[in-house]
């Protein structure tokens, strides 16, 4: 097992707000890693830093032994880090197939020959179960289909790391179960998955390790079962027990 992604002392400020502070972590090749934390903890900011959408104020992101922080998102995508968005952002008026074609045509390190592109895109659409929706505009799809489409578009770039930003939020239990299977299949294809997730059941089921962010700080890291019993984590989610302590005193 080798380290595929490493963040070293990542800081990110938005004016006076410290969105990320001293974030250090590394991800092993082929793992599924979870990032959890209350709203506003800096999870999506971390994804934006890794994918190059924003630059860290200081610190470095190392991908496969090579520094990627400071490069534009289009470069980082072709090197092998693809993402989905928390609030889905498909290219609305383009068809599902064209959405995935964007990944095939531009997101790969080597551009496949034109004749194969549609075929490759179709294969990714079928992988997420949208084969029959290929020629429908993305804006006409349902939420779960749009989320699947985002996964297909990201997978079409042949990523080495897939960043999933809350893919199962807002889905029914059945849809969630299907998506969990998909993520396992993605892992089986040798792709490292980093997922932000609020649904703890999914995190517990899928992730090998979990990192907890709170107000931009990493407050815990470890296996899912360790993390959910960590007093710091419980405090971050539920507040401390000051009230009840005062009562008992």
């Amino acid at each position: 097992m080798s380290t595929v992604l490493e963040c070293q002392g990542i800081y990110r400020f938005f004016g006076g707000l410290q969105a990320l502070q001293a974030i250090d972590f590394s991800v092993e090749q082929g793992d599924i890693v979870g990032v959890i934390g209350p709203n506003g903890a800096g999870k999506t900011t971390l994804f934006n830093v890794i994918s190059g959408a924003i630059r860290p104020s200081s610190g470095r992101v190392i991908f496969q032994g090579r520094r990627i922080s400071g490069y534009g998102p289009h470069r980082i995508c072709t090197w092998g880090i693809a993402r989905t968005y928390q609030l889905v952002r498909p290219f609305a008026s383009l068809t599902a197939l064209e959405n995935v074609l964007m990944g095939v045509c531009f997101g790969r390190s080597r551009h496949p020959p034109r004749k194969e592109r549609a075929h490759l895109a179709m294969a990714e659409l079928e992988f997420v179960g949208l084969g029959d929706k290929a020629h429908e505009p993305a804006e006409d799809l349902t939420l779960v289909q749009k989320k699947s489409l985002e996964i297909a578009r990201a997978m079409a770039t042949e990523p080495k790391i897939l960043l999933l930003d809350e893919v199962v939020s807002g889905l029914t239990p059945t849809e969630t179960a299907t998506l969990i299977d998909k993520i396992r299949e993605i892992q089986a294809r040798g792709i490292t998955v980093i997922m932000i997730e609020h649904v703890l059941k999914v995190v517990m089921e899928l992730c090998k390790s979990v990192m907890v962010l709170h107000y931009g700080l990493k407050i815990a890291e470890g296996s899912p079962s360790e993390v959910v019993h960590d007093p710091e984590v419980i405090k971050a989610y539920l507040g401390d027990r000051q009230g009840s302590e005062e009562n008992s005193a």
């Binding site: 289009h74 964007m102 997101g107």
Partner: protein, 321 residues
């Protein structure tokens, strides 16, 4: 289903239209020819505007800058004694370089700011052409060597217009075109998925500037006199935008149908309602904006027809390959 007709019909349609237009001078008078010449000028401007304004979704109110620049550069080169071909090439080259240069600062702006920035470009060019007297003749305008070129310029303009439409058609079905559509939908996501957006936006502007400047050169060759307000004025600046919107932006047939219907309507109103033509024109624009916000090609009557011929707004990228 009918992928066959999709690939065969458009070329046949283009050939038929080209054939009719080429044969036309034998049968009709010069009035109609001049009208078609002007239609071809506007059509070229509208169709090339639509590459940046419709496909890529950046409303370029200053598209006529390239028209004027091409016209002035061609006129100046003609006056220096060079043949027409050289003069047109000079006009196109200067305007394409200019497009490449201004694209860098302009594409840092988005939405309304981009529209305003490009609109400012026209005023800048108008001030420049008014004041660089030695080069442009100032506010008195510039004349080119006289001569009757109406038939030759008719052919040149028609060929340019058809070539622009063909280019627009091919662009919409290319990988580059797919990237432009993606930039229109969500530029940040397009960039996150590997599109070199800054480069592609510049390239789109340069490509759009070529037909506009070429038709500018042909225009000045035909009319033999231009002045700053004639090529950098409001009418020539806004007409292509209005035509593309009227027909439907972001579609191949939109600028085509928009240009034809607008110039015809103007012509009819001008002759039938001499005192009220501008009022009627304004009322029509408002009505179309109210009842057909997507333009004529997206209206209930035209859309099925255009889709059937394979010229609808879907890019059919996948079907082509």
């Amino acid at each position: 289903m009918n992928t066959g007709s999709r690939t065969v019909l458009p070329p046949i349609a283009v050939l038929c239209v080209a054939g009719i237009l080429c044969a036309l001078p034998r049968f009709v008078g010069s009035y109609v020819l001049v009208w078609i010449f002007l239609l071809a000028v506007y059509l070229t401007l509208a169709a090339s505007y639509d590459i940046v304004g419709g496909y890529m979704g950046y409303m370029n109110l200053g598209h006529s800058t390239f028209f004027g620049l091409g016209a002035y550069a061609t006129a100046i080169t003609l006056n220096m004694g060079y043949p027409l071909g050289m003069a047109l090439i000079a006009g196109v080259a200067i305007s394409a370089v200019f497009a490449g240069l201004v694209s860098y600062p302009l594409f840092r702006l988005r939405g309304a700011y981009f529209a305003l920035g490009t609109f400012g470009l026209i005023s800048l060019m108008e001030v420049l052409s008014n004041n660089l007297r030695g080069l442009t003749g100032g506010s008195g305008g510039i004349s080119t060597p006289t001569g009757d070129h109406s038939l030759e310029s008719y052919y040149l303009a028609v060929i340019t217009a058809i070539a622009t439409l063909v280019m627009s058609y091919l662009l919409a079905r290319s990988t580059f075109g797919l990237a432009l559509f993606a930039i229109r939908e969500d530029e940040e996501v397009a960039r996150a998925f590997g599109t070199p957006t800054a480069l592609y936006k510049s390239l789109a502007l340069v490509i759009a500037s070529i037909p506009a400047s070429l038709i500018g050169g042909i225009y000045v060759w035909n009319v033999t006199y231009i002045s700053p307000p004639a090529v950098f004025g409001l009418e020539i600046a806004l007409s292509p935008v209005v035509m593309a919107m009227l027909g439907g932006t972001g579609t191949l047939m939109g600028p085509f149908i928009g240009a034809i219907s607008l110039t015809s309507v103007q012509e009819i109103l001008w002759t039938k309602l001499p005192y009220f033509h501008l009022t009627t024109y304004g009322v029509m624009m408002v009505l179309i904006g109210l009842f057909m916000p997507g333009g004529l090609v997206r209206s209930r009557w035209l859309k099925p027809l255009i889709d059937r011929v394979g010229l609808g707004e879907k890019t059919h990228y996948a079907n082509v390959s």
